[in-house]
Subunit: 156 residues, 2 copies
DNA sequence: TATTGTTATACTCTATAACTATA
DNA sequence: TATAGTTATAGAGTATAACAATA
């Protein structure tokens, strides 16, 4: 099918193959989550809030490389869907203490089940050892990131 | 810095780490290409055209998972920058035969040099064997893709 | 002075639908 | 009837700038 077309300079580039593999994963993720009302980023936010009860929007966003400004609509959606609650943060009255609701916990469990099937599907060709190795290699690349997020407001 | 915040359900997901690693690569790629006038996707297109002289827009797009409709502006830009030429395809008068200009070849060489430095930077932690292994693993994931591109126009 | 959340806004990327001219 | 290129458009995702309340 693509047998005669060549990749040229792209062939040896890890960045290119990372992008392609990631987008293949994203496409299958979307299919796996159809009808669940959650997509990649909201699911990630929900996971972070579930694992860190009382976390605020900024910290959750920083964890995922999402800007403060973009967290607002994201959290609004999760709150509208009653998966997340904004509580008062006793120690900082500017911030909200985010927690997952009962429905949020259920939605997360459903999502995790779908995603496990999706991951199995995508990683069919790899042995357990290879999956572990891949996770390790990716983790070491992530840590090479320029900075978690230097954050906005250049002011001048 | 993020020492106390937990990933929760995200931690074991290859898809999540693929996404993060890919976006770290993309960010450093942008930095590496600053001032070159090329970004990720246009560079990929230029590479494909250079490696497959006379290829048409549709085939180049299919190779990269880019829709026909989105190839138009992409090729327009490369043509405006005089990096790519649209020639006549003798065997199919609907199609253009794309080729890289002399300036395009030079731009590609400059880009490849920048990108090599970028890849070295990002893969600093990995041994040669690990890089090869990573490319192999990613390649096997890519091949798991749902389909190169079933293409548009559902008609109903 | 710095930070949390917020609004407004813009730009890129990607997706769909419909059209034309060839095949 | 199917395919190559095109146009128009809509939706995500992500980026910056500025403001109020609080630290």
């Amino acid at each position: 099918m693509s047998g005669e077309t060549r990749l040229g300079a792209l062939a040896p580039l890890v960045g290119y193959h990372l992008r392609r593999a990631s987008s293949a994963f994203a496409a299958d993720f979307s299919a796996a989550m159809e009808g669940s009302g959650l997509r990649q980023v909201p699911f990630a936010v929900l996971s972070i809030v579930a694992a860190n009860p009382g976390i605020n929007q900024g910290a959750a966003g920083r964890m995922l490389g999402i800007k403060r400004a973009n967290m607002v609509a994201l959290i609004n959606d999760l709150v509208d869907k009653q998966l997340v609650e904004r509580g008062v943060d006793a120690s900082d009255r500017r911030a909200f203490a985010l927690t997952v609701t009962k429905a949020g916990t259920a939605a997360l469990a459903d999502a995790v089940a779908r995603i496990e099937a999706h991951e199995h599907r995508m990683l069919d060709d790899l042995s357990i050892e290879e999956r572990t190795l891949l996770l390790d290699l990716l983790g070491r690349i992530e840590r090479r990131s320029p900075a978690p997020e230097s954050d906005e407001n250049g002011e001048a």
